[in-house]
Amino acid sequence: MNAPANLPGTAADCGPAQPLRQRGQHEVFCGLTSIIWLHRKMQDAFFLVVGSRTCAHLMQSAAGVMIFAEPRFATAVIDERDLAGMADVHEELDKVVAKLLSRRPDIRLLVLVGSCPSEVIKLDLAKAAERQGALHGPAVRFLHYSGSGIETTFTQGEDNFLAALVENLPAEPADAKPSLIIAGALADVVEDQFRRIFEALGLGPISFLPPRSSTALPHVGPNTRLLLAQPFLGEMAKTLERRGARHLMAPFPLGEEGTTAWLKAAADAFGIEPGRFAAITGPGRARAKLAVEKSRPTLEGKRIFFFPDSQLEPAMARFLHRELGCDIVEIGTPFLHRHHLAGEFELLPDNVFVSEGQDVDRQLDRCRAQKPDLVVCGMGLANPLEAEGIATKWSIELVFTPVQGYEQAGDLAELFVRPFARRERLKVSA
């Protein structure tokens, strides 16, 4: 929409059906980065990246350089002896795992995470996990998945982790009552709010993935319903669907509208009375509307441009467009799961401009030409754009802050208000 005709790849029909795809430099994190929230969510799990010094450096740079406590992740750094075949890589990994487990006897689940180097040298982590399981099981369980940058961007790491986790879920008994799995890491506070709502609706049993403990795993089977709390869980959804679970299509629980539609999808699947649904969700809806409304004067009519980051971009754009009256200039997303996002695009204008994947330099050209009021982008781009006079919002904050649900709708709006409010206050110019 509104793209100048002279820029390459800005055909008017780059909507969700035919997103713009340009092959160039991607400016996104790799899937390893999901470990930064996964390790906090699942407190008895440890994530061991099998990779290079680059992977270790990424983890520490993305984690905000060194946290106080020893984190529950580490990297087994492959060195030249491993590559030259002077050392047996599997034996080396045995040593690293043994060392780690002796240091951290609290580990119940050890997750081996593949990286670009481990994949390129075809290090078989499935075999390694099996081997380790034989050595250290059953006290410690082992899983493996890939968070490599040649396979995954950012949040896809969580998708692969959850896909690996649900592979081993126990099967539900034949006469199981309908149950609900809510998938996608949420902040504990958000999870608790949703749990209270579902319980009030009388729906369940429900369980959240990832669970807070690696041993609290739900059953799965044909009576299981799956509700996605995050839009980036394509692989995991496929795996659960293979095990018989039925995916409930819905927009994502961002903003009042998204949260209501999302809860409604579950309520309908469990035959909850509309009257009851309205009664239970009413107060939350009212609070969310009120809180979001406060941000509307600042955000209404603002033109927003999204660079790709977490796959949350279409849902964020929908929230900003529908509940705050923003114009969406471009939705850049690293990967577009059209089926899972159908509910979002129904609520967005038909001609919304969507790009999938990235050529960052061309995207920057488009962005500068469009002069948006706010750019949502990663940390590598934010300061340079600010220095050019363009207001930005770090996309990573949208991933690390609790933003889902009624009680957070106002906070989510507020995150987008802050760059404007800040500019309003500052009388100094750089």
Binding site: G24, Q25, H26, E27, V28, F29, C30, G31, L32, T33, S52, R53, T54, A56, H57, L58, Q60, S61, A62, V65, M66, F68, E70, P71, A74, T75, A76, V77, I78, D79, E80, D82, L83, V89, E92, L93, K95, V96, K99, L100, C116, P117, E119, V120, I121, S148, G149, I150, E151, T153, D361, G378, M379, G380, L381, A382, N383, P384, A387, A430
Partner: protein, 519 residues
């Protein structure tokens, strides 16, 4: 394979990025997967750089492997040159691309670009960030200031120098260079080129015009300085002006290299020597200090700690294996076991066993020290956003020595204050519900009120047996103690007495307690 939680250095290609980002008109095309673009944020966030670092990543994916990753490299390189119009392009591979062996140098050569291409071999599975920075700088200098044929002629002293080593993301390099420039120019020496920070490739070509080089950071500029000496006959000054003594030695060495007579050297003094000699600093004497960092900053810190502040060096180490020899020599001088390691857990263990009163280290040691509640100052990379303060804050030269005095002594003052607070914790003067002590002291009624206050506040008063008595003589002696420390003295004495099972506090007990608590 090594188990790693935190690392002191990134991979070598990050070092190469630092050189590219330091210079003007140099672009780096890096064959790497998408996740490696995280490195941009080191520049845009930690250093608050206002432009993207001049790096193009090919961001190849799994599906490209085995088919057209080479083609992707060529396209990225050609397009980057067209878009950014650099004066020269660096090409290299990150750890993953190294494994697929696409040969970026050969591919870039095949493009017949109209600008120079400098190929980098960055062995990711052997080397690290500083090595990568030094190697990249050296490759660039070799390419643009090629060695003349034949043996380099020996040079006579002259008043033109280059400054080598400062780079993007270096610990305080931004401010050091200002300070050193001022210092060198005050001697009447002209600075020809500072590189890599702020230099263009044309500047590199002018490096041989100087009479000598100054190596500010051997980790980055050392290899190049050696090469320039061998091939262009340029001697170099290898003293880093960190601390008052080293600044003096640096000035002498620069003057000598420039052929300046001793009487022409202006006075260059920091406040450090006097501040250190002033009586307020007496309490610094013999403070045990543990030092860890890159080799240059760690060795300099040890010298300053021992000779300029009167500390006792109780541990010294570096993560820079390339400079282990220098650190070993310094450790021998202070009679400590050198710690050459890039395993932060080993460093943490060493800190614990050294029992220092001050830690001088990197951001990593800062965290360890915080956990252990030991005062700490940061002296070296790896850097953090805090290491790019808004204020002018060099480590080198005259002002650098002043900054060092302040930044190492202040945490200790804090330490001292904490220590005092700890000692006074049980005092009614420090109980915020208490009346001002000069109103209440001595009065028995007030004393019981204090106890009530303390009990109400849940303050951990030690239990003093009701049977404990003060002998008159001791009581009188206690009153001679200034009121603001009397409470402490009373309480410490009572604690001492009860811990030792005494029933009466005599004059003797009072002084035994004093001796006991003064350690």
């Amino acid at each position: 394979m090594q188990l790693t939680v935190w690392t002191y250095e990134g991979p070598p290609h990050v070092g190469a990025m630092r050189i590219a980002a330091s210079m003007r008109g140099v672009h780096f095309v890096l064959h790497a997967p998408q996740g490696d673009t995280y490195a941009d944020l080191l520049f845009t966030m930690i250093e608050r750089r206002s432009t993207r670092p001049p790096v193009t990543y090919t961001t190849f994916q799994a599906r490209d492997l085995g088919s057209d990753t080479a083609e992707i490299f060529k396209t990225a390189c050609r397009e980057a040159v067209e878009r950014f119009r650099p004066d020269a392009v660096l090409v290299g591979a990150s750890c993953t691309a190294e494994l697929i062996q696409d040969n970026p140098g050969g591919l870039a050569a095949a493009l017949n670009l109209d600008i120079p291409v400098v190929n980098l071999e960055l062995p990711s599975y052997q080397k690290k960030e500083n090595w990568g920075a030094a190697e990249t700088f050296y490759r660039l200098v070799r390419a643009f200031a090629p060695a003349p044929v034949g043996v380099a002629a020996a040079r006579t002293p002259g008043r033109v120098c280059n400054i080598l080593g400062p780079a993007s993301l270096g610990f305080r390099h931004r401010d050091d260079i200002v300070e050193v420039r001022k210092l060198v120019e005050s001697l009447g020496v002209t600075i020809n080129v500072v590189a890599p920070l702020g230099a263009s490739v044309a500047d590199l070509a002018r490096l041989p015009e100087a009479d000598f080089n100054i190596v500010l950071y051997p980790e980055i500029g050392g290899v190049t300085a050696d090469w320039l000496k061998r091939n262009h006959g340029q001697p170099f000054v290898a003293i880093q002006p960190i601390g008052a003594l080293a600044t003096e030695a640096f000035v002498e060495a620069v003057a000598k290299a420039a052929g300046i007579k001793a009487q022409d050297i202006p006075e260059t003094r920091s406040r450090l020597p006097w501040y250190s000699r002033s009586v307020d600093s007496t309490y610094l004497t013999g403070k045990r200090v543990f030092i860890f960092g890159d080799a240059t900053h760690a060795v300099a810190a040890a010298h300053i700690a021992a000779k300029e502040l009167g500390f006792t060096v109780c541990g010294l180490g570096t993560y820079s294996r390339e400079f282990a020899r220098e650190v070993r020599a310094a450790a021998a001088e202070y009679g400590v076991e050198p710690l050459i390691s890039d395993d932060h857990l080993a460093v943490e263990d060493a800190i614990i066993s050294a029992q220092p009163e001050l830690v001088l280290g990197t951001q990593m040691e800062r965290h360890v020290a915080k956990r252990l509640r030991i005062p700490c100052a940061v002296i070296s990379s790896p850097v953090h956003v805090q290491d790019f303060p808004a204020r002018y804050s060099p480590q080198m030269g005259v002002e650098g020595a002043n900054v060092i005095f302040d930044s190492w002594v202040h945490p200790l003052m804090m330490g001292l204050e904490e220590h005092l607070l700890h000692m006074f914790r049980d005092d009614f003067e420090f109980n915020d519900t208490a009346q001002p002590s000069h109103l209440s002291q001595g009065a028995p009624a007030a004393a019981s009120a204090q106890e009530e206050h303390a009990a109400a506040a849940g303050s951990p008063l030690i239990e003093v047996p009701a049977t404990l008595q003060w002998a008159d003589e001791a009581e009188r002696e206690l009153k001679k103690i200034p009121f603001f420390v009397r409470g402490k003295a009373r309480r410490n004495t009572e604690r001492f007495a009860s811990e030792n099972g005494l029933r009466t506090i005599t004059l003797e007990t009072l002084y035994d307690a004093k001796a006991h608590f003064s350690r």
